[in-house]
Subunit: 317 residues, 4 copies
C-alpha cells in the first residue's frame, strides 16, 4: 500500500478500499460491502471474507463498520441520537451472544491525554460508566442488571516506556474480562473525515496503526478475549495532504504526477519532523470532546441494555 | 490507633510515633530512632525492628526515613539540592546491592491526576526519566550506563474500577522489573507538615493508607519485587483538624477533653461528606509541583548514578 | 459579624440571616423573607429593605435569591430543569425592563481556573453562549433575536497583579455593556451547602467576599452598569468547621463554649496557612462542572429569551 | 505578498525578507540587516528604515531581532543561557532609557490556552514574575529594586467575544503602564523554524498576524505606550506546506510551477477547514513549554536588572 516511505498506515477500511479500487472503481475479490443510508448518517459495512481480501486490504478478516455523519462538532442532538442507536446496534451484532449479563468488560482508551488530537481514547474512559468496584464494595449503588465494567488509559510508549500490549495483557490476565472495547484516534487520508466518521471493527487494533502507535496488535489471538476496536479520524498526516496537493496540481495543470518524486520532495520539506507531523483543524478539542461523548454512550448502551442515558451518565467518572 | 471512627490511618511514621509516645515521650519497644540535622533539613530514621514494634506502630518491620525541610513551596535551590542528595543516599542504602546496572525499574505514581492534592504520584511519573523504550528501539539515544526505567500512573479505583494492585501485579508479571518505586500523596495529622516533609520506606504501601487509597498492599511479599515507597503529606483530614481544635480548646479553656464526644460531634458537622473531606492550603498546586520535581530527581539520581541532572531531565516525558 | 479574626465574610445571605437570628429565631428589622417550595427545590428570597437591615446583614440593600436543591453532583435532569427555569425567572425579575433586545451583556467569571474549587467563574464563561463577535463579523451565523454577549475571566490578583475591578472597569468603559452578570465561587458556613445552593443577587459582589477575593466591590455605583451576582458555595473555611466542631462538642459534653478561646485555639492549629485553608469535598470537580453548566444555562435562557437550549449550546466556546 | 488567497500573513521578518529577495538574493531598499553568530545561536537584526522598506516588507518601520538556535525542545542549559542573555540585551536596547525604576510594566500573553500550539502567550504570563500587588499590599515581600509588573492573557475573540485590543486598551487606561511586552505564537513558512526561532520587535503586533489573530494592531500609536512584541513560530499553515511541496515537486520533476494553480488545488483539498488548518509537530507541548520559560526569563532579566534567576522564579505565579 501507499506511503510506506513515511510509514503511513491507512487506518480506515473505507479509505483503504477507495485507494485500492482507484478511479476504475473495480470490485475487490474477497471483500463485501453494504451501504445503508439513514436519515442523517450513512453506514458502510465492509466485510473482509478471506485471506485474499485481507492481503489486498492490508488488514485482518472481519467486519468494519463506518458511520459517516455531518460534522460532529456541530452538536446536533438528532444526529447524535441516530449515531448512538446505530453504534449500539452494530456493537450488539459484533458481540452476538458471547457476553453474559454478569461478564466483565474492560474498556481501553489508547493515546496520549496530553496531546489534544490523541486524547480520544482517554476521554472515552472518562465518559464511560465504570461499575466494577461497586460490585465489590457497594453493590446496592448499582442499577439492577448492571454488569461490571472497568477502564484504563495505558498511555503511550514514549511516555511510559511500556508497550501498550504489555499493560493490557497484564491486566487481562488479572481481571479476566469477557470482552475488550478499545478506542483510539485514527489518521485519515482526507481532512473531510475529521470529526465526521466513526469506525468500528471486530478485529482489534493493528500494529503501527492509529495515532497512539501500538507496536503490538491488540487482538483476540494474543489476548484470548474478543476485542472490538472503535476509532475516529482526528488528524491527517502532513505528508498525505502535501501528496494530495501535488496530485491535484498535476491534474489541474496537466503535469505528469509521479508519486516517488512527490514523496521525496515532501520529505525534504517536512524534515526534521518527517512523517510525524499531523494536520488538525483548530476545532479539534471540541471534535474530540463530542466524539468521545458519543462513542462512550454508544458503547455504554450496548453493554448495559435497558438502562437509560441519564442513569449511565451517573456512573461516568 | 486513633480515628478508627473516620477510618483515618496515620500515614507518617514520625506522626504515629508522636501519637504513641504521647506527652510522656516514652520509648517504644522494638522501635529505633536516629535524628540527623543537616544544614537546611532534618532527617529522622525510624527503624521498626520486630513484630512487637510493628504492632505498636501499626506498620511493617522496616526503615522509614523522613526528611523535614523549610516549606518546599519556596523553591530554594540550596534546600532542594540538599534534599535530592539525601534522597539519593537513602534510596541507595535501601536498594543496597540488589540492583544490577541493566536491571529494569518500574516507577508507579499512585493517585488521581484530576484532583490537585492527589496528583503527586502522576506528576512524579511525568518528571522522571523513562528509558526502557530506547533500549528496545533506539539504544543510541541513551547515555552510556542508563538502565531501563518505565513508569505508570494506574489511576484510582473510583475512576478505573480496577484495584491498583491488580494493575501493578499484571504489569510486574509482564515486564519483570528488579525494583518498584511507588510515590503517593499522604495525609498528615498537622497542616505544618504539608509541603515540608518527604517519607521514604522500604516496606511498600499499606492498605487503606495514602490519599490514593490502595485497598491491597503494594509490597514485596505479594509482588515478588522489592518496593520503595515515597510520599509527601498534601492534605489533612478535616476531622483531624477539628479534633485537634477541640483538644486545644479544652486545654486552653480548662474543659475536659473526651475523644469519643469530640469525634461524634465532628461527625455531625462533616456529614454528608464525612471523613473524605480534606483540608489543603491554597498553594497546594505549587507544593505538589515542586515536591514532584524534587522527588523525581532524588529517585533518578539514585537509579542512574553518575548521570547529570541536565541529562536526566532530557529523558523526562 | 463573626470570624473577623480570620477575615471570614459570610457570603450567603441565608447564612448571615441564620447567624443573626440565632436560636431565638427573631425577626430582623428591615429584612423581608419569602420561601417558596417547588417540587425539587426550595427558593428563599431575602430582601434587604433599608440601611438598618443592610447594617445588620452586613450587605447592601437589594434582593438575594437562594435556590436550595438536592446535591447537584447527582446530575438529575428534572432537578436541573427546575433550577434553570427558576434562575431564568429570577434573573428576569432582577433585570426588569432595563435590557433592550440589542443591548450587550458582559459576563464575568471571577476566580482562579488553576484551583479546582475556585474555577466556577471561569467555567461559567466557558459554557455560556458568546455572540458579540458574530454581530461584527458574521451576523448570518446568529439566530434571529440573539443579543451581543461577551465574557471574560479576569483571573485573581495573586496571579495577574491586577485588581479585578481595574480589569472589569477598563473593559466596561470600552464596550459599554447594559448589564454585567458576575459569577464567583462562595465560601459557606456549612459543608451541606456545597453543591446544593445557588445565590443570585442584584447588588453586585462585595469587597472581601468570595473565594476569588475581589478587594474592590463590583457593583453598579462604581461601574455605572447594573450587576447581577451569582455564586455557589464550593468551600468551607477550615476555621469555620473547627469552630463548629468546638461548639458542638461543648453542647454535647456540657462544657461552656467561648468563641474567643475557640478561635485562638484554632489559630494555633491552622498556622502557618491560617484562614486561607479551605475544606472541600473530593467530588468538588464534578460539583463545579455541573454547577457551572446549570448556571450558564439559567443565565443564557434569561438573556436570550425564546432560544432553545440546543441552539444556545452551539454558541458556547 | 503571497498567500492572500488563504489570508496568510508572513509573521517573521526574516521569512518576509527571504520571500522578497527570492533566488536572486537582491538587496531590499530601505531595509538594513545585521547578522551576529554567537557560540550556539545566530542573531539577525532587520531594521526597516523608511516607508519604502515598510511597504516592501509589509510591516512597520522598526527593529526586528530574530534569534535562531538549535531545537529548543532539547533543553540544553548552555543554549538557554545564551538565548536569555541575548534577549535581555536586545530588550534593553529596545527599551533604551524610557523605563524608570518604579515604572509599571504590563505583560500580555495573546492566544488561546486551550489550544496547545496557541498557548505560548498564556504560558509566558504563567512563568513571568508578577509583583504589582506586592507593591500595594506587601511591599516587604519584594526584593530591593523590583518594579511593579502585572500580566494578563486576554483570550481570543472567538472565545470571549471581545477584541484583544479593547481589553488591553481598557486595562492600559486604568493602570497606566510605561511599557507593554506582548507575547504570541507565530505562524512560520517552514517547519524547521518551529521551536528554533524567537522574534522580538519594537513595533507591536500587526492586525491579522499571529495565531491569536488580533484584528486590531497592538501598538504604541493606538495605546500611547511603547510595545515590545515577542513571538515564536509554533505552526505552519497546511496550505503553505502543500504549496512548498508542489513547488519542490515541480523543481524535482521539471514541471512548470504555477502558484495560482497550486493554491486553487490546495484549496480543494483543504476544504472544509481551509486556511485555518495548521501543521504542528507532535512535540509541540514541550516546545511551547520550553520556549515560554526561556522567553519569560529573557524578559524578566531585562525588566528586573540585577535580580537573580532564582529570585525571579519565586515571583512567578
Amino acid at each position: 500500500m501507499l506511503y510506506k516511505e513515511f510509514s503511513i498506515y491507512v487506518d480506515m477500511a473505507v479509505e483503504a478500499r477507495d485507494l485500492i479500487r482507484g478511479a476504475a472503481d473495480q470490485e475487490i475479490p474477497g471483500v463485501k460491502e453494504d451501504v445503508e443510508q439513514l436519515e442523517h448518517i450513512k453506514v458502510t459495512t465492509i466485510t473482509i471474507l478471506n485471506p485474499s481480501g485481507a492481503e489486498k486490504m492490508d488488514r485482518p478478516i472481519g467486519t468494519y463498520v463506518t458511520i459517516e455523519s455531518p460534522p460532529l462538532k456541530i452538536n446536533d442532538p438528532y444526529i447524535r441520537d441516530e449515531i448512538v442507536a446505530k453504534m449500539e446496534q452494530s456493537m450488539q451484532a459484533m458481540i452476538g451472544d458471547h457476553l453474559k449479563p454478569q461478564d466483565t468488560v474492560l474498556l481501553v482508551g489508547l493515546g496520549n491525554w496530553r496531546a489534544v488530537a490523541d486524547a480520544l481514547g482517554p476521554k472515552f474512559i472518562e465518559y464511560s460508566p465504570i461499575t466494577r468496584h461497586y460490585h465489590s464494595y457497594a453493590p446496592d449503588a448499582l442499577v439492577e442488571g448492571m454488569r461490571p465494567s472497568c477502564g484504563i488509559a495505558p498511555g503511550v510508549l514514549g511516555i511510559t516506556g511500556l508497550e501498550t500490549f504489555e499493560v493490557i495483557k497484564g491486566i487481562v490476565e488479572k481481571i479476566k474480562p469477557a470482552l475488550l472495547v478499545v478506542v483510539d484516534a485514527l489518521a485519515a487520508q482526507n481532512v473531510n473525515r475529521i470529526g465526521t466518521s466513526i469506525q468500528m471493527s471486530n478485529t482489534g487494533i493493528q500494529p503501527g496503526s492509529g495515532v497512539g502507535n501500538a507496536r503490538h496488535a491488540i487482538r483476540q489471538e494474543d489476548l484470548g478475549v474478543p476485542v472490538i476496536a472503535i476509532g475516529c479520524p482526528t488528524i491527517v498526516s502532513a505528508a498525505v495532504i502535501a501528496n494530495e496537493a501535488v496530485k491535484k496540481f498535476c491534474l489541474n495543470s496537466g503535469a505528469m504526477f509521479n508519486e516517488n518524486t512527490s514523496l521525496s520532495s515532501i520529505k525534504e520539506i517536512l524534515s526534521p519532523f518527517g512523517g510525524s507531523m499531523g494536520v488538525t483543524p483548530k476545532e479539534i478539542d471540541e471534535i474530540i470532546e463530542n466524539s468521545a461523548r458519543i462513542i462512550s454512550m454508544g458503547v455504554a448502551k450496548s453493554l448495559f441494555p435497558g438502562i437509560s442515558e441519564e442513569q449511565l451518565e451517573l456512573y461516568a467518572t
